[in-house]
């Protein structure tokens, strides 16, 4: 993705989170994450993303 693509994607997700509301945000993001992880070529790479996200979330 180029800079313009990542920016419009960022905005779209921010607005989506705003629309579903706080109670459903975690479910929204988990669904999205599982969908994207399913597009990874293998489980090792999917797991690497999961562990990176965990580490960054604890930053």
């Amino acid at each position: 993705m180029n800079d313009v693509d990542i920016e419009s994607t960022y905005t779209a997700l921010a607005e989506c989170i705003g629309r579903v509301g706080e109670a459903k945000t975690a479910l929204l993001l988990a669904t999205l994450a599982l969908d994207l992880l399913n597009q990874q070529p293998d489980a090792d790479r999917a797991l690497a993303h999961i562990l990176q996200a965990e580490r960054l979330a604890n930053t």
Binding site: D3, Y10, A14, E15, C16, I17, L56, T59
Partner: protein
């Protein structure tokens, strides 16, 4: 010509009109230049515009130039950005300078022109449109009232424009809730001149802090306050100074300091739907309010002045129909909307308007630590020159005649050229008249071009002809493209002709001008007489 408001836009417009020999009167409610540093970042384009009135010398001598910046999340650097820049260019992409200096230098240029009369402590009270002019009631500092009649009134009287209110016109758009406190302090420093941003810094957890150096050892510090804080309380020194001290200590700026100016700000995305109302035109904050992030406020106001001045001058001198002024609005309203769109994007990051944006920012800042691909999200999207691709003044290109490069409606590219006075920047030749750039290695250009430059038009309406000879070609009566920049950037061949507007925008271009002698006249007629809208 009457200008309401002697801020940076009004004074610059007065200087631009004055340099074109147009008499103008500026009425400013305040007694002098502004207090507090206010707008501090001047873009390359703004420096060019002020260069047209000879104010670029003092501006660049006083200002601090910079080319990039850094953003930090907590303690870690997550973005280092650079604005486009090249060696030996005319102006830095940005300089930092207090607004009162810009006003001072524009004022001096206006006075130097001999055609501008600037009155301080003169407040516009009433505005009445007539079919052929405007009646303006003015209250002066000595308690007296005056009535002034002008052919044209330009409202440069700021965000709370009296002229706008008098005409019953409304700004349209949105405002953001997130508030930033703006503080100027005086402190010795040796730090490099860069735009600095901290997200959630240890000195002020949860806040966002911006810092810019200014001349005279002054720091601009902006920080976001939480939605729960009362704006009135937030600007009290007892609440401001500890936060500033904590941050200075964190970044290792330990010299003694004192506060100079404290203000508060929230982002606004507002514009009038049109900048012409009969005999009244609007420029700067009177016409539009854009978020500070990306520094589009004063810079877009100066762009307004640069766009309007030559059109007003041509109308005033009878060289153009007044419909030319409609093109000012046609060009600058979309420019404001573009500035607002970029400013809104920056604001969504700098002052997230709701939980969705706040959460995404938290994610982007963390991911930026490890993933370079998302760092552009943190970029402040600094102002760049606006394109007038849909301007009614543009003469559309014939299909396939040019490759990439300077289409009508784009700012004319810069180039370094060898002249009788040494190396000169091409953009330094713009600002007053139309310019015909004729690319040719032959010593004698076509006769019609010489005569187009000599008349039947006169003064500002006649194009100034410049022949640009290629590398190594005969340069008698020409400037030489020693570095090959001009021919390349303009995608030129033998006998290529560009018509550049007085404000440095490409208006029309022809691949082989020799074969179409009347077209430059037609393009000028179209702009000046027919004034398409």
């Amino acid at each position: 010509m009457l200008i309401a408001g002697g801020g940076p836009v009004g004074l610059s417009l007065a200087a631009l009109l004055g340099c074109q020999g147009v008499p103008c009167l500026v009425l400013e409610a305040d007694a002098s230049w502004c207090e507090g540093s206010r707008a501090i970042c001047l873009s390359r384009r703004s420096q060019e515009i002020l260069g047209w009135v000879g104010a670029d010398g003092p501006l660049t001598a006083k200002g601090l130039s910079w080319v990039g910046g850094r953003s930090y999340f907590r303690g870690a650097e997550v973005l280092h950005f650079q604005m486009p820049t090249e060696p030996a260019e005319r102006f830095a992409p940005m300089i930092n300078i207090q607004q009162y200096y810009v006003e001072q230098f524009a004022h001096a240029a206006a006075v130097r022109s001999g055609a501008a009369d600037i009155r301080w402590s003169a407040r516009v009270r009433g505005v009445a449109q007539q079919s052929d002019g405007v009646l303006v009631d003015v209250a002066t500092g000595d308690g007296r009232s005056h009535r002034v009649r002008a052919d044209w009134l330009v409202a440069c009287d700021g965000g709370r424009s009296t002229v706008r209110e008098q005409l019953g016109l409304q700004l349209e758009g949105t405002q953001y809730e997130g508030r930033y406190v703006i503080v100027d302090i005086e402190q010795d420093t040796r730090r490099a001149v860069e735009r600095l941003a901290w997200f959630d810094p240890p000195s002020n957890p949860g806040s966002t802090i911006l810092m810019h150096r200014q001349p005279d050892n002054i720091w601009r510090i902006d920080y976001q306050i939480s939605d729960r804080e009362d704006p009135g309380e937030a600007v009290k020194p007892e609440n401001v100074l500890p936060r500033v001290q904590a941050h200075l200590a964190m970044i290792g700026e330990t010299a003694p300091w004192r506060p100079l100016w404290i203000s508060i700000y929230n982002a606004k995305c507002l514009t009038l739907p049109t900048y012409r109302s009969g005999r009244v035109l609007f420029a700067g904050d009177a016409a539009h309010l854009v978020p500070i992030f990306g520094v589009r406020g004063l810079n877009s106001g100066l762009d307004d002045a640069g766009n309007l001045a030559w059109k007003l001058a041509l109308v005033h001198k009878g060289h153009a129909a007044d419909t030319l002024l409609d093109s000012y609005s046609c060009e600058r309203v979309p420019a404001a909307r573009e500035n607002i769109a970029f400013g809104a994007k920056s604001t969504e990051f700098m002052a997230p308007p709701h939980r969705g944006f706040a959460l995404m920012r938290e994610a982007a800042l963390r991911l930026a630590l490890v993933e370079p691909g998302v760092r552009s999200l943190i970029n402040p999207r600094q102002t760049t020159p606006v394109e007038y691709l849909n301007s009614p003044l543009n003469v559309p290109d014939l299909a396939g005649r040019f490759g990439a490069g300077a289409r009508p409606g784009l700012p004319a590219p810069e180039a370094s050229l060898r002249t009788s006075q040494g190396l000169q920047h091409l953009t330094a030749l713009f600002g007053g008249r139309f310019t015909a750039l004729y690319f040719s290695n032959r010593a004698h250009g076509p006769e019609y071009l010489q005569s187009a430059a000599a008349g039947p038009r006169s003064g500002a309406a006649a194009p100034h002809l410049i022949r640009i000879a290629g590398q190594g070609a005969a340069a008698t009566g020409a400037v030489t493209d020693e570095l090959g920049q001009a021919w390349r950037r303009y995608d030129a061949a033998e006998a290529t002709l560009y018509l550049i507007r007085p404000d440095g925008y490409v208006m029309a271009r022809w691949r082989e001008a020799d074969s179409s002698p009347a077209e430059i006249d037609r393009a000028l007629d179209r702009a000046l007489k027919d004034s398409p809208t």
